[in-house]
């Protein structure tokens, strides 16, 4: 089996938001819709304060609450763990959006563009009317993954088969791979580093790991 997962090395992330921009470019999302975000979090109290830059988005949970609540079965989980939305089935009820503990979902009611009511040439070309009035979120660039696999490429290793945010990361903080393969890049990283997943107490089993220190240090 395959379980696609993402790893964010918090020691490396500098909060540059390049992944955010790359995601918006790759997926042509509307203004204000950012399937990949990077939070700027402050921890500790003055004078012992530190900052952490935390990439967030859909965690592609193994037990996704968004899928369970979806009345239309538009939200589904692929065998490889990627949580998807069928825009043609979704009724835009927003139930998945209140069920997601990661605030990863968006709904855009009508077209909106970067410079007012008129789309740029690129926006006009890439506008997807199916996305209006329904839920949308990160899909781990599943089209790139599927296309890459069909061409014999390895997601997480070959850029053409890897999510755009990971490709764009200037600090090599974001990684992608198959968690079910013990020798994959992400499996090794998770094994060799101290890590956590966001809101683990909610038992959604996110497919997104955060590294914060070396194992054994």
């Amino acid at each position: 089996m395959t379980r696609w997962a993402m790893v964010a090395d918090l020691r490396r992330c500098v909060g540059c938001q390049t992944c955010t921009a790359a995601c918006r470019h790759a997926n042509a999302t509307s203004p204000g819709v950012q399937w990949r975000r990077v939070l700027d979090m402050e921890t500790g109290e003055y004078p012992d304060v530190t900052r952490a830059f935390v990439p967030v988005g859909c965690m592609h949970c193994a037990d996704p609450p968004c899928m369970h609540v979806c009345p239309s079965t538009a939200t589904r989980q692929r065998d490889d763990g990627i949580v998807t939305i069928d825009y043609d089935l979704c009724i835009g009820c927003g139930y998945c959006m209140v069920a997601c503990p990661y605030q990863a979902r968006y709904k855009v009611e009508k077209p909106r563009f970067a410079y007012g009511g008129t789309p740029t040439e690129s926006e006009a070309e890439r506008d997807d009317p199916r996305r209006y009035g329904v839920a949308q979120k990160c899909n781990f660039c599943s089209d790139r993954i599927d296309d890459g696999l069909a061409r014999g490429l390895t997601p997480g290793v070959d850029p053409d088969a890897t999510p755009a945010c990971v490709n764009s990361c200037i600090a090599s903080a974001l990684h992608f791979g198959d968690l079910d393969d013990p020798e994959s890049n992400v499996s090794v990283m998770v094994r060799e580093n101290k890590h956590f997943r966001m809101h683990e107490e909610l038992e959604t089993e996110p497919g997104f790991y955060y590294l914060w220190d070396e194992e054994g240090s």
Partner: protein, 289 residues
């Protein structure tokens, strides 16, 4: 502002609150009306307004969804979605309640009460399954939603009774018990939510609403009911006022839960990362009590 502290969700607004208000009051009224119907009071004067409330609530939801013309898809996931289950119960509730109202069939009235109970339970579970909203996923919200639905429905039953007949003493006693039960459910829900940890904004909103729940939903109807018992000449008016106050208290509570206390989970890190030559530190969970 997008995190990291929890912020008020805006995916479900007053229209969603309207569904919980209409659905709770309507199903509560069907149940109260069913007891009356089986006790030889007419069922129709209660069933028809009750269905109007439920229909109004469902219409509000329909107005909120992004793709109203494919609303039929709401029936596609009975396996895991409480929204689907609520939608499936709704036509059964309407069919049996209408049959009971127009033909007076006892079996239809009983079934209507059962489907109303199911609908009300689904509403509680819809909120509880919303894992992204701490104030909704607290399991004590289910008994709270059921208790307030029954209270609202019985309250409206008394108000309608005052118009079509004399309010039954049993219904007044039942409302008295229900407002006490709802208050207990409210206090337990609030206590459990705080004990388990919740966004500070959610607790603040609930405390603001709590004043109305206790004043409008408990103290005022309790006083009016006692007045109705003590002053026979004014029983009808006082009982009706008590019922309406009890109903309004529930509406305020649900409106607050859905639109004011619905802070999302926000973001948290259990550990701060090791950066450079520094050391890792404690994590952060901003915006939580």
């Amino acid at each position: 502002m997008y995190g990291p502290a929890p912020w008020l969700q805006d995916h479900w607004d007053w229209r969603a609150a309207g569904n919980f208000i209409g659905g709770g009051t309507g199903t509560g009224l069907v149940i109260a009306g069913a007891f009356a119907g089986l006790a030889d009071l007419p069922f129709a004067p209660f069933a028809l307004p009750a269905l109007a409330f439920v229909a109004a609530g469902l219409t509000l939801v329909w107005l909120e969804i992004g793709k109203p013309w494919r609303a039929i898809h709401v029936f596609f996931n009975p396996k895991t979605s409480w929204m689907t289950r609520e939608s499936l119960v709704a036509p059964l509730l309407f069919a049996t309640a209408l049959a009971g109202a127009f033909f007076g069939w006892p079996w239809a009235i009983v079934l209507a009460a059962l489907f109303a109970t199911g609908f009300l339970y689904c509403q509680g579970r819809i909120l509880m399954a919303s894992k992204g909203i701490p104030a909704w996923r607290e399991p004590r919200i289910v008994p709270l939603i059921i208790a307030t639905g029954l209270t609202e429905g019985t309250g409206l039953f008394l108000a309608i009774s005052a118009i079509v007949a004399t309010p039954p003493v049993g219904a007044m006693a039942t409302l008295f018990g229900l407002i006490a039960l709802r208050t207990t459910a409210w206090l337990q829900y609030r206590r459990k939510l705080a004990a388990g940890g919740a966004p500070a904004g959610a607790l603040k909103a609930l405390d603001e609403a709590g004043r109305w729940v206790l004043g409008l939903g408990l103290a005022l109807p309790a006083a009016l009911l006692l007045g109705a018992a003590a002053w026979p000449a004014g029983t009808e008016g006082l009982a009706a006022a008590a019922g309406l106050a009890a109903m309004a208290g529930g509406w305020v509570m649900k409106f607050a839960i859905v639109t004011r206390a619905a802070f999302n989970q926000g973001f948290a890190i259990p550990r701060a990362p090791v950066r450079g030559a520094g050391k890792g530190g404690p994590g952060a969970k901003p915006g939580w009590n």
